[in-house]
Structures are given as structure tokens and as C-alpha cells.
Amino acid sequence: MNIAKSAITALIADDEEGPREQLRAALQRLWPELQIAAASEHGVDAWDDFLAHEPQVCFLDIRMPGLNGIEVARRMAATASPPQVVFVTAFGDHALSAFDAGAVDYVMKPVDDARLGQAIERLKARLQKDGGSGPDLNALLKQLLPAVAAPKPKPIQASLGREIKLIAPEDVIFFESDNRYTRVVFDGGDALIRTPLKELLTTLDTELFWQVHRSVLVNSRHIASAVRVDENSMHITLKGREEKLPVSRQFQGLFKGQ
């Protein structure tokens, strides 16, 4: 990998400004060469910022609106370049006891320099070794996260001129980010909605809707094939449609072609 040359980048996610900035200041003090690529205000942003910046290190708060820290970490672990994750938690978080096994690193809020220093040393060691995540982080996080009830699918409301159209989520073929809007393509037309794609992610059934790109969410039932164009790029074709949708490197693992 190309870690040796470029600086190591990091993402910090906490829904409260105080702890977020405290961690940022502590990191700048203890690990000056670390570049903080993003400081996200909640789980949805954290996931989106991760896709945008692909940092090697992520510091995640556990209790965050949108997606909690463990959910974000699980999604990250499933991508092509899973980052090193350190959870930042306050005393009393239920998942804490599971971390004592040493498999997942965590620091407590308010962050103290000594403990953060240890975590940084471990991060550096692991990054130097191979840059990949050691144990099967995904399986581990699955244990930590109590089964979340599938969100009730709500119809998507899209205004078409004067009419407001209700679209059942399963009828949608794909969603695509389009500047400040999200384009909804469904059986029989398309429409623009104001809900950002990254927020839709938390309300849709992830078994049905696959994120294949930072700005594309596709109904897996409508995928016809995935076509590898060259070493790095891939796109998918849809059943009975002309569009080709890009698959970013992070998500190419979805299509393994056994």
C-alpha cells in the first residue's frame, strides 16, 4: 500500500462539540503528523465522510444519532479498505465490557493523554505491520451490536409538480445523489427529493438496498450484472434499463464472482 509516503489520515466522530474538539486537540498534541481529515457530528456524517476521505484511522463515539458508532464501524469493516477503529466512549456504555477482551481498542471520555498515547502506539504498530485490520472485526462488532429491529419502511414522498407521489421503497430501482437533492428512479419515472442520500441509508433495508458508491444506492433485485472495466473501476447494469451505475473501489467486494 502507499501508506509509507502519504500522511496518515484520521476521522473523528462525536455528536457533541466539546468531546470532539477535546479529542482533536489531544490528537494534535500527541500525534502531530496525523492529519485529521474530518470531524463528523453524527453517525450518518461519519459514514459519508469516511467514504469521501478514506481515512486509515477512525475515532468513533458510540452513542450518536443516525447511526451509532458500532454500526458505522461495521459498515467500515465491510469495505475494501477497512480503517483502524478506536471507540471513544463515556462511562456507562453497555458495550464497554466486551471491549475489555482487547480485541477492539477504546478510550474513555474525557480523554486523558496517557491512555490516548497507548492507543496511538498500538495504532502505529498495527498500521506499520500491514495496514489491514487484524481480527475479524466485522464478526466481533456483530456481537457487540444488539440486533436492531429492521426499520419500518416508510413510503418516500416525492413532489412532481403539484402532485406528491408516494413511492414504496421496494419499488425504487436506485437512488442517486444529485447536488443538494437525491434522485429517485422507480418503476415508471424518476423524481427529486430533499432527503440526502446518506440519511436515506439509515431508514432503508440494507439487505435490499446496496450502497455501491458514496452517491448511489441500488435495489439489489434490479441488478442484472456487475462488469469490471479495468483494475480499479467497475459498474453495474440494471434489468431492462440502459443506465450503468458506478461501483466505487470500497464496495467492489460486494461482487465477488465466485
Binding site: D15, E16, E17, G18, P19, E21, Q22, A25, H42, V44, R63, P65, G66, A90, F91, G92, D93, M108, K109, P110, V111, E199
Partner: protein, 391 residues
Amino acid sequence: MMNKPWATLRGFFREVDWRLVFLLGPRHRFTPEQWQRLDRLPGISPTIKVAAVVNVLALALVAALKLPWPIARLVFCGTLLLGLVTLWVSADMWRRPTQKRLHRAYGFSAVPLGAVFGFMLASQPQRWLQEPWHHELLIRGCAIGFVYTMAIWAVAMWRNEFMADWLHDEALREQKLELAQRLSSAQIQPHFLFNSLASLQHWVAVKDDRAAPLLQSLTSYLRATLPLFDRPLLSVGEEAEAVRRYLEVMQARLGGRLRFVLDIAPDAATAQLPPGVLLTLVENAVEHGVQPQLSGGELQLRAYLPAEGGLCVEVLDDGPGPSDALLQLPPLDPAAMLRDAQASLGLQNSRLRLWQAFGDQAELSLSHRSEGGCRAQVWVRTSPPHAQSRT
């Protein structure tokens, strides 16, 4: 129709404990953990030991009375030996009064002895039934055997019942203790405290102007909350003050994401409630109603005296609304609450406190608001009291 008397009869007999009817022995079974607990019971006291030995000696003397000397000596020794065996078996029953052990003890002692006795009787019936002192010996032997058998049986039965009662009492005592501890320590959540300190630490370090007001709110909150639980009842106005401090801290931490309105009617402010109830409802609303929303939310606390009497307190938020499990709260069962630590612990504690203070006259319920969000309501039907109506 025909089956009904039959079913009644069956129901009646199902309630019969056949072990007791047929004198089978102790009825309670204990788990290994319970045995471990039971080992904490004190051992047999010296008084009981001495009394038991004196009784055995006395019985041996009585058994040997008025018999010819050589036979009397034999009877005395035999009875004494049997008595000591009985004491040894009883001591075992004292420690582990189970049906299995009782049957085993009988299998090793009473049954072989009875068989020998029966064999002697059957082989020479004339001698044992006719000859005067042989006859006397037979009767005394039966009586002594019966006394010892019953002694072991009684010890096992009594001790088994005693242990079951003791375990029950012990469990109740522990429940009470745990409840008291949980009620007193339920309120200040370490999560809240440490998160607040994290913000504070940073703002102090960077000399942010928000540090001083946050510290002041946090201090006032702690000052208002710590002595809160020493009192059985607290006025709504006093607790609303603690709630305001709490909300100020949260507002400082969450920035623009939390908005709140406190609306306490002046006549409702003097009404009394068990401490911590309002604070719990507000904490729940912040945690489950405001914080999960990406753009934050608004919280309202209202207290008023409704026209139909009593006191009504409402906490409203505009979040995702209560989960289905919280809409239908189960009947209040203090014992069950202690058994399984539930997610809605704060809520259950509040219900328990309300129940302790007002019995059936108070009600805590959660519902969906028509405009979205959750409504937590406490309704006390009687006019608020001056002191506790129940202990």
C-alpha cells in the same frame, strides 16, 4: 359438561403433595447455588448436641430397665449404639435434608436391622412371642426402632422446611436491600457526568466562554440532585429547578440541538411527588427523543392541576416516539423488576416510587403524540399529600 366435576376432582388431586401423604420425606429440592448459600447457616449448636446425647443415654437406660442383668447390659449397649448411629445420620440430615439422603439412610440402617429382627422373629416365633422377657425385648425393640426412625424422619422434614423458609426470607431481604440501593443510586448517570466533564475540560483548556456557565449549571444540578433522594417527597417546583439545571447542561453540550420549555403552573409547583420522577422522564426524553434526531428536538415539561382534581405532569418531545413495548407497561411487579434488569430501568423505578407514595392513585404512561414524538404523563388522582400514605 360431563367433564366438569371430573376436572374439578383432577384439579383437587393435583394440589395434593403425595410425598407428604405417603411420608416419603422432604419435599423441597435445592440447586447447587442454593446449597452453597445454605452452607452459610450456623452449624449444630453444642446445646443441641449435648441434649441429643443425654436423650440417647436416657433412652438406652429406659430400654434396659427391669431386665435380667446380662441381657440388660446387652440391650443398653445395643440401644446406645443404635442411638449414636441415629445421631450421626441426623447430623447428616441436618446439613443436607434431602429425600435421597433420607432414603439412603433408611436403606443402610433401618432396613437391614428390621430384616434381622424380622428373621429372628420368623425363625423362632414361639420363643419371641411366648417367653416373658423375650416378649418384652421384642416390644422394646420395636418401640426403639420406631422412635429412632421417626427422629431421623422428623429432623429431615423440619430441616428441609426450615431451609426453604430461610432461603425465601433471605431472598426477600436481599431484594429489599437491592431496591433501596438502586433507588438511591439510580439517578445520577455516570454517562451524563463524564460527557459533561469532557465538554467542560475542553472548554476550560481552550478558554471558551461556555465553560463558566456550564460549570455553574452542572454544580447547581449536582447540588439539587444529590440530596434529592433523602426525602420521601419533593415539591414539583423544587424538582423542576433540578430539571432546569440538567437541561441547561445538556443544552450547553448539544448546542442548538436541544430546545426546551418549562411550564409549571404556580398551584402545581407546591404539589408533591416522589423525588426523581420528573428528572427521569426528562432524561429519557432527551436521550430517546432529542439526541437520536440529527437536527435535534424540542422538549416541554408541563405541570398543572387538572379540573377533575389531582396533579398532572407531562413531558413532551418531538422525537421518534415510544417503542411499542413502552406503550403497554406491564403490571407493576417489584419482585420481577429486581429479577431482570430492564432497559427502561429509570421508568420502572419511577413507577415503583409513585406506587410507594400513592398506591393505585398514581399512574405513569407513555403515548404517541399526534404531531409526532412521545408524551410521558404522570397523573396523580388524589390531591397531592403532605406525607407518605404508604410505607
